[in-house]
């Protein structure tokens, strides 16, 4: 291990880690938005929406995220869609993880006992009120852990955007290998920083989950 080298390059990796964190946060937010919409579509009363939701999930879970990114970033300009790499990364990964989150959110909602809906409807609550005041508050608690699994996968998935040259942790490692010829050290730094990010996120999820337990 070349510790001198590690000490010299690590500031660049910290900067790259910050980009990875930004990517992760924005991707999570977009993923949650897509996942919520997707789950609503899949649970809709209307067949069209259910179909749209089902197609969304099967297309984005059924193809590699890398291909989806390439289509967006390299294929987009053919149709006049010019995105910078970071934006393309967030959109590509966010829409992708949203398909997984769709199923997570939907799963939590349908896990709530049917009797809850019946009780809410029989006192006169509308479908929307039932969802808003009775089902979602209970389902939200059930979603925290499985969404945490999605987010864990998503953070590691941000490594893919190195392939469209976003300067994040993986890309930075590759770049320094070009000049230092020390792949072991470079990838170890990246890996360690990923682990820190993921560990911290995991702790956050556990904390949220505990806090949300039903009394």
């Amino acid at each position: 291990m070349d510790f001198d080298l590690i000490l010299r390059v690590y500031p660049f990796f910290i900067e790259a880690a910050w980009v990875t964190v930004q990517l992760s946060v924005l991707t999570t937010l977009l993923g949650l938005a897509c996942g919520t919409l997707g789950a609503m579509a899949r649970l809709s009363r209307l067949r069209v929406f259910r179909m749209i939701g089902a197609v969304y999930v099967s297309v984005f879970r059924g193809t590699p995220a890398l291909i989806q990114l390439f289509i967006l970033y390299f294929g987009g300009p053919q149709f006049g869609l010019h995105l910078d790499a970071f934006t393309a990364g967030v959109i590509g990964l966010g829409v992708n993880i949203g398909a997984y989150m769709t199923e997570t959110i939907r799963g939590a909602i349908i896990a709530i006992d049917k009797g809850q809906t019946e009780a809410a409807r029989t006192v006169g609550l509308s479908r929307f009120q039932t969802m808003r005041y009775v089902i979602l508050p209970q389902a939200a608690r059930l979603m925290i852990r499985p969404l945490g699994v999605n987010i864990n996968a998503l953070i590691k998935g941000t490594a893919l955007v190195a392939a469209i040259s976003v300067v994040e942790l993986t890309y930075t490692a590759q770049r320094f290998i070009g000049s230092t010829y020390k792949p072991f050290e470079m990838f170890m730094i990246s890996g360690a920083l990923y682990m820190i990010i993921i560990y911290a996120t995991g702790r956050g999820i556990t904390w949220l989950d505990r806090k949300a337990r039903i009394v």
Binding site: G115, A119, R121, T122, V123, G124, L125, V215
Partner: protein, 257 residues
């Protein structure tokens, strides 16, 4: 002499799942203030009939009326939703498994619907919760969450939750069937109290003793039809129909075992 106009009026109710007929042309009238028990073996359709009254299990044929309002009107979706949310406010329902909202306190369970649907202020809602919980004897549990209540207490909160909407009729779907035997009585007492206040009640039950002492009329259903109906003294002491006799005999044998 004219018959009093029925309060709840079920006309030619039919319900089938595919080829399986669960309700076969049932008609049933309930007068205001009347207390009706529906008994019968499992699978007889009694719960389905009860759940048809507030359109929780929509009928495939026939009509259900509450006073001058047809409950199961055929309407375009949006209009139907508006209509049904309105009429359901007049029909309280109590379930076998309580279905309390576990994320809400006892107080919030009772006040959720009145606050949302009747726009009650916090003070008015608090007063309402206290009034209803006092009625079921659980005022001291107002701050509890359902998970800390016994089954009997849960069911009494569920009754308070239904009463908070000031319904015109109460439906009980085997309200004591999921309770430990020693907890049945506290729920029965609350129901008796409602009976004394002349609440209109339709009660699906396996508790023959309760049906006999509290109800004005007993309906015996089997295989989707009303086999026999009459005052409890008649149905329980001297039923005409052989199916009724068989059912009661089996039931009593089980109860005494």
């Amino acid at each position: 002499m004219t018959e009093p106009k029925p309060f709840v009026n079920i006309r030619n109710a039919q319900k089938s799942y595919g080829t399986l007929e669960v309700l076969k042309d049932i008609s049933l009238q309930v007068a205001r203030g009347e207390i009706v028990a529906i008994i019968g073996p499992s699978g007889s359709g009694k719960s389905t009939l009860l759940r048809a009254i507030n359109d929780l299990d929509p009928l495939t044929g026939g009509e259900v009326w509450l006073e001058d309002t047809q409950i199961n009107k055929k309407l375009p979706h949006r209009q139907y939703e508006k209509h049904i949310n309105q009429v359901r406010q007049d029909i309280g329902m109590v379930f076998q498994h309580f279905n309390l909202f576990p994320h809400l306190s006892v107080r919030e369970n009772v006040t959720l619907a009145p606050k949302l649907l009747k726009g009650l202020s916090d003070d008015a809602a608090e007063a309402l919760a206290r009034e209803q919980l006092d009625k079921v004897g659980l005022l001291d549990r107002i701050d509890y969450y359902p998970s800390r209540l016994s089954g009997g207490q849960k069911q009494r909160v569920a009754i308070a939750r239904a009463l908070a909407m000031k319904p015109k009729v109460m439906l009980f779907d085997e309200a004591t069937s999921a309770l430990d035997p020693e907890l049945v009585e506290e729920v029965n007492l609350v129901m008796k109290k409602l009976a004394e206040e002349h609440m209109t009640m339709i009660i699906v039950t396996h508790e023959m003793g309760f049906a006999e002492t509290v109800c004005d009329r007993v309906i015996f259903m089997d295989k989707g039809v009303v086999v026999e109906e009459g005052p409890p003294s008649k149905i329980f002491r001297n039923p005409d129909n052989e199916r009724t006799q068989n059912f009661l005999r089996k039931h009593l044998a089980n109860a005494n075992r």
